[in-house]
């Protein structure tokens, strides 16, 4: 039977999310759920515009973004939560939703009267997801946090960097990794709700997501009292394992060799059968010890070759190699376009733009990216009128009185 015959086209079809998240991590989590087919209603206010709706000089953007990936596939409503009637509207929205997500500092939702207990009273089986820097509990729960900060406190930034250099700040990928984890645990809670009928409050701490990436290092430390420290591009048991310069400005290729078969493939592709008998390189252990010399020899070979040619040649020899992709390389990549990981999306004005599509391919219920970033309050009428049953007059009054604002 086809998916259409059974009436289900997407995994989260029919599921509604009241989305109160801000910044990057929270909105990315609900964006993923929206790609899976959930109806995601983004709650915003003119009182404090979302970060993409205003200039962002720290990122060199002097005006509002023309498109925000994490807001795509979502609907936008305006609610002024500083107004008691705004809080009531928020509760009514939650009452018709399956899930509520927020990413304010811990305590803010309670102060607004929108904590889990209050929401459970209007929707007993609500799944509530709270995304914060340090979690809802603990002495540091109210600490401010952006990606570089929770990357630091979580230890991932500490272990990242050149061996002889300082730690390195982590950027949006840290936010979005937290969002990916948040979407995953939200789905787990939704699946549990489907099985048991029970809602739940899920508490995700972004710094703990950062820590989850160094779980092996913490284990090593706990067992041996030594932590790995910053390692640059080194990896245990792999040599060569580095990023090598290629022809062209700031052009690089990554090469990683783990097995003897890959090593033989590399030596063959580079025309260096002597490496296989050279005592410096022949065995994995000595090869790792002499990796700097090996890096120099590989660099001499890559530096006047195109990175695509190097990658193609080495992959044909069974060696893991790939160019260091810029964002332009990514949007131009035929493989990613074929998979739908990169897609074209039209703005309401008809402008086509390359955007990021769903990162999974389902054989029967594919996710999809369908709609552009909504305009602020674009779906006020649909949500307050159609879903919540307010009359046109009531909506107009609330707009006039800056409750819908």
């Amino acid at each position: 039977m086809s998916a259409g015959n059974r009436g289900i086209n997407k995994p989260l079809q029919g599921l509604r999310i009241a989305d109160f998240t801000v910044h990057a991590a929270g909105p990315f989590s609900t964006h993923l759920l929206a790609l899976l087919g959930a109806e995601c209603i983004k709650v915003e206010t003119s009182k404090r515009l979302d970060v993409f709706r205003k200039p962002h000089p720290v990122y060199g953007r002097m005006e509002a973004a023309s498109f925000a990936q994490v807001a795509a596939n979502k609907k936008s409503v305006q609610i002024n939560l500083k107004e008691p009637r705004g809080v009531e509207l928020a509760k009514r929205l939650v009452a018709v939703s399956d899930m509520m997500c927020e990413s304010f500092r811990p305590g803010v939702m309670e102060r607004l009267g929108l904590g889990y207990t209050a929401l459970k009273a209007v929707k007993p089986d609500i799944v509530m997801l709270s995304v914060s820097a340090c979690g809802q509990t603990g002495p540091e729960r109210s600490y401010a946090g952006y990606a570089p900060l929770f990357g630091a406190t979580g230890g991932l930034g500490t272990l990242t960097g050149y061996k002889d250099g300082p730690p390195v700040e982590l950027r949006h990928v840290m936010d979005h990794s937290a969002g990916l984890n948040a979407a995953t645990v939200a789905l787990a809670a939704l699946f549990r709700k489907k099985r048991t009928g029970l809602g739940l409050h899920v508490d995700l701490a972004a710094r703990e997501v950062a820590t989850s990436f160094i779980g092996d290092a913490l284990l090593q430390f706990a067992a041996t009292s030594t932590a790995p420290g910053r390692q640059g591009n080194d990896a245990a048991n792999k040599a060569p394992h580095n990023v090598y310069p290629c022809a062209g400005k700031d052009s690089w290729v990554s090469i990683a060799v783990a097995t003897d078969m890959e090593w033989r493939g590399l030596a063959g592709a580079l025309g260096r059968p002597d490496w296989l008998t050279n005592p410096k390189y022949a065995e994995a252990g000595t090869r790792w010890q002499n990796r700097k010399d090996l890096d120099a020899e590989i660099t001499a070979w890559t530096c006047d070759r195109k990175r695509e040619d190097v990658a193609r040649m080495l992959q044909a020899a069974g060696v893991a190699a790939f160019p260091s992709y810029t964002s332009q390389d990514i949007v131009d990549d035929p493989h990613l376009n074929q998979r739908g990981a990169i897609q074209s999306l039209n703005s309401p004005e008809g402008q086509s733009r390359k955007v990021v599509g769903p990162p999974w391919r389902f054989s029967r219920t594919p996710g999809s990216l369908d709609t552009w970033t909504p305009k602020l309050g674009e779906h006020n009428q649909y949500v307050f009128g159609d879903l919540l049953g307010l009359t046109r007059d009531e909506i107009d009054t609330l707009i006039r009185e800056k409750v819908i604002y």
Binding site: L204, I214, K354
Partner: protein
């Protein structure tokens, strides 16, 4: 089962994990923590990841990565080069709800696990394929380890930023510690597994094609968005104009003031120095333009500070300031203790050692258990008791090298 409110989301769900990659193993880990029964199928000499890195302890026999990735899983060994081994894998899949596999697409036919074959055999099964570049597309047969995938997703080109880049502008880009791209690949696979489970009752099974590259492109979406705004990001220009990593007398902190009140808090924290009160630094755009000068002052001030003290005082003033925490500090911090992030897990030769469960407070298991030291330690329980084979079957397979 008694009280449904205590039931983990995946209680009663059986996952067969046939994987040697970090991404798929990480997915199996998370599914196990969510309550699934995860059966890890290894070759008779064990998953190669068992040998990655120095062994935690002579009695343990495995490195920290394998130990971390394989909590709460059972281990069975099968030689899929032999028909008996493939037949037993088929039996396991018949009894599972989810099949997690990272076999290269071209090898699946040899093992009898192409998506079509599996769908015919088990129409209700969710087949989650986890591969570096996915199961279709011109790179689907490409090999890819962490370093390659980090660069294939776009973030590799953009690292490092800030202080590290200023110190070493001519070095090759540096990766994030460990298996950042691959763990994200695993989490993406779990996300997709739950999505497929949400409609399994209505739709039956399906094939889910997860690519580690795809999810790393997704988490790098801000760079793609910036490209659409006309900016091709590179690591030199992406650095924050001021702030970032600061060296104190006893370690490093991170400071990032995105909002005006945060900058004002920082100025106060520094004791309202004359240079910071310059009217020319009032406007954020002007500050951006004078980032180098600000950094000179900031770094000189930071060198005189103690990390713990400055973070505490800064946070009290609303300044986003954080310590670059070392592993021992994470294991021992009060925040960690209150949130019960680590479970004490018995390890051969080591007694009990702390292991991070998951980065969320949600229905986690009471107990974490390391995967058995011996590959195939659960053959008798899984292949015998669960699949219903006799002890002599098991002996025969072992003798023939099938398990």
């Amino acid at each position: 089962m008694s009280d449904p409110s205590n039931r983990a989301p995946l209680s009663g769900v059986v996952v067969v994990e046939h994987a040697t990659s970090v991404a798929a193993s990480y997915a199996g880990r998370v599914l196990a923590l969510m309550g699934a029964t995860v059966i890890k199928v290894e070759p008779p000499d064990g998953d190669p990841l068992r040998r990655e890195g120095a062994s935690l302890h002579a009695e343990c026999g495995v490195g920290p990565l394998f130990a971390y990735l394989n909590v709460n899983k059972s281990s069975v060994t099968l030689n899929l080069g032999l028909p008996e081994g493939r037949a037993i894998l088929g039996e396991l899949i018949d009894r599972a709800s989810v099949f997690l596999d990272d076999t290269a697409p071209s090898d699946r036919a040899r093992l009898g696990i192409t998506p079509d074959e599996v769908a015919r055999r088990c129409p209700e099964l969710i087949y989650v394929s986890v591969l570096p570049f996915g199961a279709i597309g011109e790179h689907s047969e490409y090999r890819g380890y962490e370093l390659n995938l980090f660069h294939a997703g776009g973030e590799g080109y953009l690292m490092p930023n800030g202080l590290a880049l200023e110190m070493f502008p001519d070095r090759p880009p540096v990766k994030i510690y460990g298996h950042f791209a691959e763990f994200n690949g695993g989490t993406s696979a779990v996300c997709a597994t739950f999505a497929a489970l949400m409609v399994q009752q209505e739709m039956g099974g399906q094939f889910v094609d997860v690519s580690v590259q795809d999810v790393n492109v997704a988490i790098s979406c801000f760079a793609i968005q910036q490209l659409g705004e006309g900016t091709l990001e590179n690591r030199h220009e992406r650095s924050f104009k001021y702030g970032g990593v600061l060296e104190c007398c006893d370690g490093y902190v991170q400071v990032l003031t995105l909002e005006q009140h945060q900058w004002e808090g920082l100025v106060k924290l520094m004791g309202d120095p004359k240079w910071a009160l310059d009217p020319e630094l009032k406007d954020p755009l002007d500050r951006g333009r004078r980032g180098k000068l600000i950094n000179l002052h900031l770094r000189a001030w930071a060198k005189m500070q103690l990390v713990e003290d400055v973070v505490k005082r800064g946070q009290a003033l609303g300044v986003p300031l954080a310590k670059y925490a070392e592993p021992d500090e994470i294991l021992e911090s009060e925040q960690t203790r209150v949130r019960e992030m680590f479970h004490k897990v018995p390890a051969a030769g080591l007694g009990e050692i702390p292991v991070l469960a998951a980065p969320y407070q949600f229905m986690l298991p009471e107990k974490l258990v390391f995967c058995a030291v011996q590959p195939g330690a659960d053959n008798a329980r899984v292949l015998g008791e669960w699949l219903g084979h006799t002890a002599s079957d098991l002996q025969r397979w072992a003798g023939a090298g099938a398990s």
